[in-house]
Structures are given as C-alpha cells and as structure tokens.
Amino acid sequence: MSVQSHDVQPQGVQTYSPREFHRQAHDALGNPQIRANFRKAMDGLMTKRRDSFGDWDLETLRELGANIRLRALAKLPDLLEQLEANCEANGIRVHWAEDGDQACRIIREICESHDASSVVKGKSMVTEEMHLNAHLEEAGIEALESDLGEYLVQLNEQTPSHIIMPAIHLNTDEISEILHDKTGTERTRDVDYMTAAARSQLRERFMAADVGISGVNFAVAETGTLCLVENEGNGRMTTTVPPVHIAVTGIEKVVEQLRDVPPLYALLTRSATGQHVTTYFNMISSPRKDGEHDGPKEVHLVLVDSGRSSIYQDDELLDTLRCIRCGACMNHCPVYTRVGGHTYGTTYPGPIGSILSPHLMGLDETKDLPTASSLCGACGEVCPVKIPIPDLLVRLRRESVGEGRGNVPGAGVKRTRKEAAAWKGFQWLATHPAVWRAGTAVAGKLKALMPAKLGSWTDYRTAPRPAGTTLHALVKRHQANKTHGEER
C-alpha cells in the first residue's frame, strides 16, 4: 500500500467552539445516533469501572492517589528541575515552552533539524490542545495519528470526542464507512477486519516516519523516566521505531518518585476503562545507548506550561492540576453522556474540561462550560485523585460573574447588570423575613427573579402548582390547633 494513498487533510478538520455550546448541545441532543452511541459507551464504562475496583479499598487508594499528586504539586518547581537534570543526564533533551505556540515551534524545529517530512503520533491530548498537527502541516510536515481512535477521527476530519476514547462518538457502521471512503477497505461490521486493515496501513507509516511524537502519562523526577500507558502498542511503536522521539507533556504531569507510579497507574486504568491493567506500561529513561540495536537515537521532552503555572497560583484552583486524565468524570457525567464530547468545543470535554478550559482559553470563550453541570457530584465521586470538581465549577461560576478572586482570564465576563440586580433583590428579600412571609406575593416576585428563560421550563414540564399558602402559614395554624388540642 503506498504511503501517499490515504492523505488526510487536517486543514478541513470539523470545528466546534465552546462559544457555541448551546447550539452544539441542541444539535447533539437532536441526533439519536450520537445519543445512543454515548449512552451505550458510558453505561459500559461505568459498569466496568465499578467492577474493576471490586476487591480494592478504593477510598484508601484514591486518598493515596490524591496525596501523591498533592505532594508532586507542592514540590513542583524542584521536581521539574530534578526531572530536567535526570533526563539530561540520561541523554534526553529537555525543552520548556511557555505556551502551545512556543511548544509547536520547538517541535517543528526539531523536526526540521532532521529534515523530517513525516511524523507519526501516539495519543497526546496536550498536542491536541496546541493544535500541533495543523502547525506541522503548515510547515510541510505530515503528522499522522496512530492510536486507532485518533486515526479514525483524523480520517474523518474531526477532533476527539473523549480524552481516552477519541472515536467514541462513532459506531461500527460509521467507522466502516469512514475506512471505506478514506482508505478503500470493504464495507463491513467485522471489527477484526477493520483493525487489521488499520494495522497494515499504519505499519507502513511507522517504518517511514522520521519522528515519533507522544504524550506522557507520568514523568518521574527521581529517575528521569517518561511513563506511557496504552493498550494498542502504537505508543511503543511511536517511541521506538522512528529515529527521533519527542515526548510532550504539561508541566503538572511530574511525580516525585518511581514508587509513586504504581498507585497512580492502578487508579488510571481502572478509572479510565475499567481495566485492571493496560496491555503496555512503557517506561522510557534514555535514547538508544551504545550497543543497543533499536529505539530512537534522540529523545526530546517538551515541558509545556500553557496556563498551568497560573492555575498553580491559587490554592483552590491548584486541585485542577492533580488530574491524571483518566476521563472517569466524563464517563459518569449525565451532561456529557447526553451531549457528547464535541459539544464542549474544547480539547478536554466534560467536567474536567469545564474546570480546565477556562484557564486555557479564558472565561470569555468558555463561559457556558462551568454552568453546564447540574452539580450532581458524580464527577467528584469517581475522580481517582479526589479533585473537588463540583466546588471548582462553582468557583468558576463565581469568577464568571465577578465574585471570585479575579485570577482566571476573562473573570467577570458573565456579569450583567440585570442578573446582578436580580440576585441583589433575592438577597434583600431573603434577609427581610417579614417581607418574605408575605407568602404568595413573594412567590410572584421570585418568578421575576429567575433568569429570562424560565419559559423553557414549561416546554418540557408542567409548572408546579402554586400551593396557595406557605409553610410559615401552615405551621402557625398547626401550632394554634395544637394549643387547642385538636389536629386535622
């Protein structure tokens, strides 16, 4: 099969924007296929996660996971320096990037220094975050995704809809159609056939690739080791076959010691897909050494800040950086399950995306995300490192209306005079009990306090019947009856 035959065109990538959350949610809700695909997948993932922790002391393990991440964050600057020193001592070259653009430039320059025209990628959300593929494409470097889900999504000119399972929005028939259209395979429901086809297409690309680019799940400061978690083997291919390997990671992914890794790995696989372990746990500590016969001769590590050091400033927001990117919060989110990942219009969808994206993109872009939660708490309940996601959603709501600490980009963007006045009115009523007790009159006024779209309540539900009295009034009567020795 020729290398040129299945060119993908990332410039045509289908785009979604967090500004369009409502419209995108409307579209997704109206698409029975999307609804069914996500519901089925999320139901399965929830069950598998629950079963996989069966004989574990899950609370103790989560406590340890949170604790390890907190310790890493507490020592973050020192650990980053230690990681850098140990990687360099092992022969891994370390680069630092303030933002995604700078990281893209660094990566492009490494590629160009090797006259690279073809890059093969393992799954990496941070490179999605910085739109690396498009950047490389502009420089005439083709970047091919090798994780099967990412590959399918790239063939379909889309972005991932889930951080662990990028193609979870697609069903078997849709995938068959994509492979048929873009690579000429037979139309089929035979998953083994499709997998084998992708295998043979991608193997050629691995052999031809000049550079492999991967993410990192944990970077161990103590030993200068990059850990990658995967099932497919494309991560091992990406980091072993091409002559150059570039690993890209957010600065928060560092852990202090090697012994910190086993508990986090145990939490990650079970939380993500309900697996007790993944097929491969790949730990890379150096490029090919003298006498070794395979593996890249050059390994680079790009440490990307991109807003993370600003999250780091604030004690409450800091918890956001504990995330180990398992996706359990989205698997258990009733909103994500209904609207799917693309609706969020961000690299990281679902609850973690709603608390992370505002820092990466600003609240002006993402103002509908912190409210896109019923605060049901399912995300916080399953988070393997105990991030208080609902509290952080509320914190960002506070920031959006200008009642936080003002240290999130775009703070105050959602504050309108009308809504602020309404809440002041609510405050006044609720702090003037005599007025409050005016009962039904107050109830009437309260309706006026609700945000403008109260009408939408009755599109789907009958409005509650006014009680005609209040509990205050009933209690008074009840107490009077009791003193007169009668009840009912």
Binding site: P77, G233, H276, Y312
Partner: protein, 226 residues
C-alpha cells in the same frame, strides 16, 4: 527571560502561601502476602482474562513446549537473542527444527522491513511477573531488543514461576528500580488490543495479536497442569 526560568519563577513565587507536601502511606499497594500458588493462580487468571495464553512446563524440558507452541502456531521464522540462557537454550533445542532462527543482535536500520514483514514470532525472556495484574516485566537488552516483543505477530515470553511477585509496587521496591532504570522498562499484560471501534475488543491492532507465556517450573513443582 527564557521560558524555563520564567515558568520556574512563577511556580516558586506563587500568589498563595507556600505549599506543604503530605507524606504518603503505600500500604494499599503492597503487603498482599500471597502464597506462591495464589500468585500463580492470580497471574494466570488475569493474563488469560486479557487473551494471554499460559502454558506450564518443567524447567528442564521447556524447549519441547516451545517447539510445540511454534509448530501449533505455524511459526516458520522466530526472532530471538543469543546470550540470555532462554535464547541460548532455545537455539540449541531448535537447531535441527524446521523453524528458521532470526538474529536480533543487529541494528534495526539494517533489517527493519524484514522484522516488520518476515518474522512470525519473537521469543524473549522476562525478568519477572506481577500476580496482581497478570503482567510480565521486561527490561530489553542489546541481546533482546525492544521491538522483538512488539513487532512480530506473536510474542512468546518465558517466565520462571519463582520470579512472580505480588504487586507492581513490590517489584519496583524489591528490585531497586529507582537506583538505575534501563533505557526502556516494560510491563506487558496480554497481546496488543483496542476497543476503539464501538467498545468491541480486537487484538493485534499494532503489536502482537498473540502472547504466549511459557511458565517454567523447577523440577519439584513441575507439571502444574493449567
């Protein structure tokens, strides 16, 4: 200011007060206290659950088992090392067999396409295994390079039963991994797989579609039927 210094400065001079690092209690990932039988049973149950094949063999006749596996799987070209006793014994035993032995102590650049297209199976030793997750641990060497366990469609791994340990944490601690990591350390738990097509499991997406573990037992404990 260079990005590095700017980032570190922001982290060091954070707005809120300095953070204190909590101590960690690792008890939950260690102290399983399993017997050798329990370890073996757990290892086998888990690795079989993810499509790994386990074959038990006595220490002194394991190469007969290997020959049978290769014959059953239709392996004609087997890639393997030379120096490790596992490779050396296999080479000795297979010298007159129909299987062609492919040397791997060559720089990959000289035989990449051959490795990708004309090797049926790779044979490797293992350093040990983890009962709790059914995982093999490998530290590839010049004698047994990284890609041997990844590129050929079948990976045959040889495990000595007495190298099984309880947990990943136990392995990292007992073998002092932190004192010196190799270029590449691997845990392998089953053949390559994906569920990216509508949650349906498919094997061999990029790596081997079959993983066969030959578990070697010392004479006294040999013959543990699976």
């Amino acid at each position: 200011m260079r990005a590095r210094d700017a980032i570190l400065k922001r982290l060091r001079e954070r707005t809120d007060s300095p953070l204190s690092a909590p101590e960690s209690d690792f008890a939950v990932v260690t102290h399983r206290g399993w017997s050798q039988e329990e370890r073996l049973a757990r290892f086998e149950r888990w690795i079989v659950s993810v499509h790994g094949e386990v074959i038990h063999a006595p220490r002194d006749t394991w190469t007969d088992t290997l020959a049978k596996v290769l014959a059953d799987k239709g392996v004609r070209r087997l890639a393997l090392g030379k120096e490790h006793p596992v490779a050396a014994e296999a080479r000795h035993a297979l010298a007159d067999a129909e299987v062609e032995l492919v040397d791997v102590d060559r720089d990959i650049e000289s035989w990449q396409r051959e490795q990708f297209e004309r090797v049926d199976a790779g044979l490797t030793s293992t350093r040990g295994a983890i009962a709790e997750t059914g995982s093999l641990w490998l530290w590839p060497t010049p004698d047994e390079p990284r890609l041997i366990s990844l590129v050929p469609p079948i990976h045959v791994a040889v495990l000595d039963a007495d190298t099984l340990e309880d947990t990943f944490f136990d392995v990292v601690e007992a073998h002092g991994w932190a004192d010196g990591m190799p270029t590449n350390a691997l845990l392998i738990s089953g053949p390559s797989k994906t569920a990216d097509i509508e949650q349906t499991l498919a094997y061999g997406v990029h790596g081997p579609r079959a993983l066969v573990v030959i578990v070697r037992h010392a004479a006294a404990a040999a013959g543990g039927e699976a």
